[in-house]
Symmetry: C2
Subunit: 324 residues, 2 copies
Amino acid sequence: MEDVARLAGVSMMTVSRAIREPAKVAPATRARVSAAIADLGYVPNLTAGSLASQRSGIIAAIVPTIDNSIFAETMRGLTATLTAAGYQVLLGQTAYDENAEEALVAAFLGRRVDGMLVTGVNHSALTRQRLIKAGIPVVETWDLTADPIDMVVGFSNHDAGRAIARYLLDRGYLRLGFAGGNDDRTRSRLAGFEAAIRRVKGASLMRAMLPAGTSFRGGREALGDLLAQDPGLQAVFCSNDAIAVGALMECRRRGIEVPRDLAIAGFADLDIAAEVTPTLTSVHVGARRIGEESARLLLARLAGLAVETPVLDLSFLIMARESA
Amino acid sequence: MEDVARLAGVSMMTVSRAIREPAKVAPATRARVSAAIADLGYVPNLTAGSLASQRSGIIAAIVPTIDNSIFAETMRGLTATLTAAGYQVLLGQTAYDENAEEALVAAFLGRRVDGMLVTGVNHSALTRQRLIKAGIPVVETWDLTADPIDMVVGFSNHDAGRAIARYLLDRGYLRLGFAGGNDDRTRSRLAGFEAAIRRVKGASLMRAMLPAGTSFRGGREALGDLLAQDPGLQAVFCSNDAIAVGALMECRRRGIEVPRDLAIAGFADLDIAAEVTPTLTSVHVGARRIGEESARLLLARLAGLAVETPVLDLSFLIMARESA
DNA sequence: GTGAAAGCGCTAACAC
DNA sequence: GTGTTAGCGCTTTCAC
């Protein structure tokens, strides 16, 4: 930067301004600085800038995983909105491991990120405490809680589970199955699913809990598992669409016709849900919108604006299609 | 940090050492420092550390996209290896846009990342120049070139396209179709595919070029497109498995039996390839291994070791399954 | 519209 | 094994 300043015949301060607030520099000066920058191939050191300004321009996002996953959409929404506002997004994946989350939060806080998005509302005490102490805007996502670290954007997994159970029960399916990875939000969906089933006489429930994060293959295995538990199974709710598509594949292989022989419902309403045959009934949760709204709230906080409400319930919608 | 030092009764330097090189600090001192850190909830400022040490501990990776994608696997391989070595991975997505790549490279260089992985071997002149000037280890991936910016880890897309064409031709399929997103590497695969077809008398080729980055839906549309061009089509090569699965879905919807009526081959050998019905013939390219080997080379360079060969050809393998 | 001085929080290099 | 000194490359604040 010193070289640039010298070449342009100005002070470092003017170079700095020409880069960050060009409007505050005289056009002629600006032109000379730009020329010098291009000439020297100067790349401003954002690390030094962050240290001096106490703002990193980085928002961190922590999700369980991004493989063929519901969270990729959320990341897209978040990234699009934040990038447009001049922020960079730093992505961290936990693989559904609470220790990994703790380590990531620590690392990101160490980088002095300006804000953070985390997935879910259950975090280790240490993580919560660090996040609160950091004093930066934080959004928890993909669930709701009355007691957020800072802000929450999501929907009630419990209610969504209950709603899809009622949907299936209303259609006359009584012998139900549940297939899902074993993570917090899936357990909430299952709890809601179960609660609705318990209220209906004659309704039954089989469970196939998979390792958190499994997808197609997990769905195929789960289907076999559930059918072994109850050969007369009538409908299966899968806690995400990848698992549901896996179940659909397994049905096809076994010659089970969906929904005639067995109904299948998914969760999250990924693009693939509307593409498979039969098309997949699923619970739309606005994965992308979660990211966008989270970004909006973070930006509002960073701009010093008061956030209207720290708990944003985006709700959900049952997308009735052919499979159930 | 000063507070921690005061509380532990040592100098800042000792605190710094206790954190980064605990072995070099007396156990008793270390214990006092740890206690002080915990007491105060001190989180070291990595930004300041990076500035002072001139090492960020960050490796950046730039891929076109990570949605239900072949690159997610590469990222996993890269991240696993680098995380184990104490580095953090910063992910950037270009959405197949060269300008986005340029902006990302500039931003990452501004953060003084210690190394970088980029996708493909074609980059804007400015990007190349900046990367070379930065003097950091750089790996280009998912293709090969005799003239790398620094190092390359991949396979020949051209050869892979030729190989799958020969595979199909050998099986007696002569009226061939190609469906793929319109990006550099896909075009290389197509060029190889075409080259092999041209050498066979009586063989024909229809093309359906999709926007770069499409997947299931694109595959369904492409299949319709190709069939409209040649109703007597015998086999289709899709430049990635998501497109191939989309094509498979469309076949199912139209009552086309695969491979009896039409053969389908994919590319990249994603997990889903072995799960669908019929199982999908695909070209295995070691997506994860590209990430791992890239990490290995970057780490070697960062450790000051000489890298045996800057061009690492991981080759590919045709996975013959039911669909073709 | 531009510049000078001070310092962000840490680590390299060296001394003890 | 521990401490001291001198910066890393910027931006803040305030002066002109």
